[in-house]
Amino acid sequence: MAKILMKGNEAIGEAAIRAGCLNYFAYPITPQSEVAEYLSKRMPEAGGVFLQGESEVAVGYMIFGAAGCGQRVFTTSSSPGVSLMSEAISYIAGAQCPAVFVNIIRGGPGLGGILPSQGDYFQSVKGGGHGDYRLLVMAPASVQEAVEMMMMAFPLAEKYRNPVMILGDGLIGQMMEPVEFPDHLKSEPTNKDAWASNGMDTRGSDKQNLVKSLYLDPQQLNDHNLLLKSKYEQMKKEEIRFEPYNTDGDYRVLIVSFGTMSRVCRTAIDNLKEEGIEVGMIRPRTLFPFPESAIYDAAVKDSCTSVLSIEMNMGQMVEDVERCIRGQRPVRWYGKCGGEVPTPEEIMDLVKEYV
């Protein structure tokens, strides 16, 4: 299949359709409004549903309703919009419905700015909404990877009956790159008759299906949370994805970086190699579950003396990197936010301080 040149935001919309998702609800927000603009034309062509909701709050529940009655559905937004959707995300996780959320992060907090950022790491990975829930969070580093993660997101959401979050940034959304939509990532929606409120006649049953998150009995709520926890533990066993870079040989410094930031780090690593300085990198492709052992193993290699967590924020993922390394190596954070992206030269200078 031939590659075509597409803007990240449009490719994300097209990828969902190619993955077999024909339902999209959204509210405009920079820097991802092109997804809605693209799908407002494309969804009707594909025989699907496009609806612009009145707010991100409402969109969150349109997603909940559609997912609850057993249909594949997704939305896209950016940081302040995802904050508003976080109420629904908590309910959807609690009610165990599969749905896909895309956050094309912009700078925060508050209204912040409209330029790329990774400032929503905590929001995506640690919660965002209330209660004990997790999202399966994937972070693409290219438009092609965003396409593939979108296409994988729907069957993963269905496997776990849990929301999946694609965490990009303004660069992934706005950048144009050649992409292809791999046929092998097309999938059929799973049969949801066992739980979805899709109408008794739809499944030929006389038993009510109930989509809810309320458990007033303390023991039932504890059991429900244990069930959710067991799914998150299963994700840790089966869904960790990461990319090692230049980690086969010896290196003095290990970088941990994700998304757009990891591409800048890769350039810095290539340039440093030409100068005779070896630096390894682990790029988490899933932020939850986090590649804990991969980072630990790469950090405790004899040649490695320090670890750098390089992020487009004020130091969020670094807390997880420190947790993985358990004090075996010094861990430092470097980063910028607000739309400022650390340059390869800055990273090279930084690395040289440690070798």
Partner: protein
């Protein structure tokens, strides 16, 4: 119907005992909705949306598929379902705190888009589940746990009339206000609910049936006094009747 039986529980209700307080009119409204579902033969393709409020456990009493919304968000959930499965019959069942306060935005926009679902809006002028706090629908001077000296309209404005407000939208719809205070009202309320479901079945329009209801517990009255108070105080302000029908509103610009 089995010979000799004169009164039966609708199929669309379960055998569960409700948690509603003595004298509460939720039970009557549940029954009316269930009778309409049975009579129209739509139970197998009906999805109800429970609110947050006294009716949060409605799914224990209705014998059809159900989803449970967050506070005020039922119209957005109903939109999500109806857009992706237009063949399903969808109704939201919401109280006045849920719909007229926190859910004001969702109900107005769903009505304005002309979403083809039905809302049963139970208005008893007070928050019930949380213990009798002031609602946007609380009457001037009405004592509640957050307006202990009576609702002061200088500070909190006048009660919101949802049927009037929604009927001001230009989009076609069926908006009616009914009551369940006495048999004569109950018969009319059932007709309205059935009409609302019928419009939905025909794919015609958004429909909302506001139902003036009582809350003896939080009003601090006996069930009989509550009915008298509702007739004397609520009905003159919340006037019953059809505010908008698709026939009327089609030429309404």
């Amino acid at each position: 119907m089995a010979k000799g039986k004169t009164f039966q529980k609708p199929e669309a209700l379960t055998d569960n005992h409700t948690h509603y307080c003595p004298g509460c009119t939720h039970g009557v409204i549940h029954r009316l909705v269930a009778e309409c579902i049975d009579e129209l033969g739509i139970r197998g393709r009906t999805v109800g949306i429970a609110p947050v409020g006294c009716a949060v456990l409605a799914y224990n009493y209705f014998n059809c598929d159900f989803q449970e919304a967050a506070h005020g968000r039922a119209p957005a959930m109903a939109t999500g379902i109806k857009r992706v499965r237009p063949d399903l019959m969808v109704f939201t069942y919401q109280g006045d705190g849920d719909l007229a306060s926190i859910g004001m935005s969702e109900i107005i926009h769903a009505a304005n888009r002309g979403e083809k679902f039905t809302t049963i809006f139970v208005n008893n002028a007070v928050y019930g589940m949380t213990g009798g706090q002031m609602a946007p629908t609380t009457m001037p001077g009405q004592r509640t746990t957050t307006s202990p000296l009576g609702r002061n309209t200088d500070e909190t404005g006048m009660p919101v009339r949802m049927a009037e407000l929604l009927s001001s939208l230009v989009t076609t719809g069926y908006i009616t206000r009914q009551a369940v205070l006495k048999p004569k009202y109950i018969n009319r309320a059932k007709k309205a609910i059935k009409q609302a479901f019928t419009y939905q079945m025909e794919g015609r329009c958004f429909s909302l049936v506001e139902v003036i209801s009582t809350c003896p517990t939080n009003w601090g009255m006996t069930p009989l006094d509550a009915i008298r108070w509702a007739e004397d105080t609520l009905l003159p302000y919340y006037k019953l009747g059809d505010y908008k029908t698709p026939e009327q509103s089609s030429g309404n610009e």
